[in-house]
Amino acid sequence: MLKQSPRKQEKGSFEEYWPQMRPVILKLLQQEPVSRSEWQDLFWAVHTVCLWDDKGGPSKLHAALKEDILEFIHKAQANVMSHQEDQALLKAYIAAWRKFFIQCNYLPLPFHQLEFSLTNKNTGTTTKKSQNEESIVRKLMHDSWNASIFSNIKHRLQNSAMKLVHLERNGEAFDSQLVIGVRESYVNLCSSQNDKQIYRENFEKAYLEATESCYRTKAPEYLEANGVQNYMIWADLKLKEEEQRAAKYLELASLPAVSSLFYLLDLTIEYLQLSDCCVKVLVTEFKDLILAECPGMIKENETERLADMMAAADIITQDSEKYVEQLLDLFRRFSRLVKEAFLDDPRFLTARDKAFKRVVNDTSVFKLELTAKPKGQVTGQPCSVPTKLQPESRCPELLANYCDMLLRKTPLSRKLTSDEIETKLKEVLLVLKYVQNKDVFMRYHKAHLTRRLILDSSADNEKEENMVEWLRDVGMPADYVNKLARMFQDIKVSEDLNQQFKNAQRSNEGSLSDSINIKILNAGAWARGSERVQVSLPLELEDVIPEVEEFYRRKHSGRKLQWYHHMSNGTITFCSSVGRYDLDVTTFQMATLFTWNERPHDKISFENLKLATELPDAELRRTLWSLVAFPKLKRQILLCEPEVKNPKDFTDSTLFYVNDDFYIVKNGKPQKRGKLNLIGRLQLSTEKSKEEDNESIVQLRILRTQEAIVKIMKMRKRITNAQLQTELVEILKNMFLPSKKMIKEQIEWLIEHKYMRRDEENIGEVLGEDRLKEILATRDVSLYWGTATTGKPHIAYFVPMSKIADFLKCGCEVKILFADLHAYLDNMKAPWELLKLRTEYYEQVIKAMLESIGVPLDKLIFVHGSDYQLSKEFTLDVYRLTTLTTEHDAKKAGAEVVKQIEHPLISSLLYPGLQALDEEYLKVDAQFGGVDQRKIFTFAEKYLPQLGYSKRIHLMNPMVPGLTGSKMSSSEEESKIDILDTPEMVKRKMKKAFCEPGNITDNGVLAFVKYVIFPLFGQFKINRSDKHGGPLLFVDYDAVETEFKEEKLHPGDLKLGVESYINELLNPIREKFKDPKLQSLVESAYPQPSKAKKTPKSAKAKKEKVVKTVEAEATAK
């Protein structure tokens, strides 16, 4: 072209060349054939335009190109959009996209020069070809495609793709190319290689969401329909399927996303199942961490977890050996995982520890097993821990049994090498760390050890002793470990002693002494119940025993031996008509069998056997049963008539006789000689002491708890309940986890027995919080507040009033009880003739007070005690209660409320009982009162259930100290502010109120601010005169206290503020009482005020005290 038209070349303008170029470009876009020369001319033309057209040729070319591309795309779009149905749309789109995508690779080629000149121009620097930038033209094409087609229909595309995937999940076949196509179009549309943003935000996200929601619905369905085990297999399968699917449909580069998909999926699946099981903990614990860390690890993690879950489910039907093996395996695997994959990251270690704690202590693991495999035999006995209160995991017992299997001569211990056993033991100890009730493990371990030592059945003595040291190392209590060590010592000492005994007896040939081995134990280390069992021993033994005793006495003067025949055992030769056998038997079995020595063929009755052996009934039954029905033995040593199914069915006349045809079967053939062990599991305690033994675990726990509490208290002197519990758990954790209930009981016990004291100042609180929460979850609470109608109410009554306002706000039903009978019973604080008037007065005042703080009265229910407390039912209940209540309890309950006198009246003892019954008769869920009521409240909690009524909740408000300081006398008129005091009187009393600068502890004025003003007004304003710095405003009490403590707030100003609030509260009441009717009521209810003042005031009663500690305290003291 250059040669043909040199002149035009000079021009080289865009306008000149474009008409030639355009058809070719269009052809290219349409994917119509383009000849080689056309293709090459295009290159040339572009080149020329770019190089020679200096009037903006390249940009014109760019614009024109863009226009053409857009036009093409619009056409394609119309074409694609014409398909209404999703799948067809998808197909059309993908076809169009494929075409376009190919063009994207070709079309940019001729325009290389264009790009070159454009970039050159724009940047003004030398081209950086090396950078291999994305071609401008391709970007142009992609962008336009994205803008016009893709963004319009991407949701439809995505949805239809997801629908297809969903179909595939449901097992329907379809053209997977369609989904792949969508994914490709997403990926390729990303203009730069590394940035997969569009793909990620759309396709991948949608895929993950779809997967999750799919399994969220499917998983529970499957679980429900097919049970746990099948479910887990299914889950595994699905995971693999999803893995393949993801590899197919998701971009490979986004592997992290895939992993997180699995993770998500896995989570969804698992979350719904074994919710009680360990695995969940693990999953949830790991969730954040894993996502934050390397997602690549997740796959490994999840496959393992799945396998573990399978294993865990299998355990259900297995015995202790399998259980522990699985447990250890699980532990090993997780430890390895954490170590290898997460470099022992402490967060993962914590997660593992938490999970394991759950596993080993979870009782539901066993329950789960049982439900999952209803057909399987229930191999596990019911939890052998005696606490009926709450089941505990059998894990510690199983662990101990497993240790026994490793340490005893068993097939298992023979199979393993010494090193293997050691490793396993150490692993058991590792797992033991997570067990809460280590005391159970210790108990079982000790029992097993005792058996091994007594029967000489240890596989390896050295290992036994190592084990003791290891137990010490893992933090078992020292006294326990020391006892174990002493047991070994005893055995060693006994061995020496036996040797000496044998030497001494050498002269005495023919006697049994040679074949005798005595184990002399230290009662403290071994003993479990020192109960002696009587038995008449075979003559040979009867001869030897005194010799042993005498020998021992000579060796250790001052000591004597006490035989534990229930533990001793021996070997006997037994002859039947078939052959002669060596039997290992217990001494009891031996004694029983010896009965036949004199009359080998006789049938002896149970009664006679009892006489002959002198064994206690229970022991004899057990012994005979072991000879008549030894498990796994085809032919028994003894036979009985009639046959029975159970040792309890033996009667005195049941006859027993020796089985003359006894023989041992080996390999299916009867043997003439042989050895047989009839001891089985050596009984360590007698039948009788077995129960005691079980109880002793609980008993010991109680003692340990008390001991630990005292220990802590001695160290700390003063401690909060919460902190005490924490420290307690810390101290006891190596033995057991004390239950909240037990801690509480023991604290109460210690308080009752004066080992410690409750800090009375600090107990504003709730009794029965858990019950309260239960009720609140279902409905509103109904509660009552009672007041004995004794002395005149004073301003501290505003404390409970403000609380009552709060209760009403929360939707509680509140009853107010005017306890007139109580007022009378409490040392006649209200004389009988004045009772009605007093009650009337109280009602008026209380109502006025409530109105003054804005409580709507119609929402309250007012009740008079005498309205129902004199009814037949109530009276009968009072009598019933008196038959249950001890004088001590009644006195204690009323100690802080009822007036204490030297010889208490019966009325004062009835008082707490009546208050307890009020709760039932007022039909409330809760009672509200001051903390001084606490003892009555606990009294009610104890006794109501005994009458068959339910326990109520108790809410307590703190007590307000009196206005004139901590010590106050009721005789001081200034100590209290009466509800009806005039402003002048208030002013005078406030002036005299004790309010030492900086003293915040004994400050009645501050207390009033805290408990009345802030709850009611939410703020505290002081109209301080400008002279002293102007008005003050506090929005919370802490600020007031701090200011006052630092003496920034002057007592005078504080009093001024309080005074104005008091008047504000009292004014409406004063107004109301201007009514002459009420005036006369006041006078008649409290006659001769000047003289009588002392009487009502000094008679501060229980309820009043809630409010007005001021006077009450003083009189009680």
């Binding site: 007594i454 005798i516 081995n517 005595i518 002399i520 001052g558 000591r559 070997t571």
Partner: protein, 84 residues
């Protein structure tokens, strides 16, 4: 005779021959040891007085050493003499 004993492994616990369960001084059981010892047995024996009261030897020795003038049994206040 049909049944014959081949060997026998007897089990017994030892006890101090004492008329009380606890040491009157340290209140620990006699099958335990005095507070200063670790193992009951020969290292922490009991002793009897002529008044028939008995104690851990370590306990009574401590007591006797603290009495300057008369050495009395802490239980019955008779003069303490070891029983032969």
């Amino acid at each position: 005779m049909k049944v014959k004993i081949k060997s026998w492994r007897g089990v017994a616990v030892w006890k101090w021959i004492a008329n009380d369960d606890n040491c009157g001084i340290c209140r620990n059981g006699f099958d335990g040891c005095c507070p200063d010892c670790k193992m009951p047995g020969d290292e922490c024996p009991l002793v009897w007085g002529q008044c028939s009261h008995c104690f851990h030897i370590h306990c009574i020795m401590k007591w006797l050493n603290s009495q300057n003038v008369h050495q009395l049994c802490p239980m019955c206040r008779q003069e303490w003499k070891f029983k032969e």
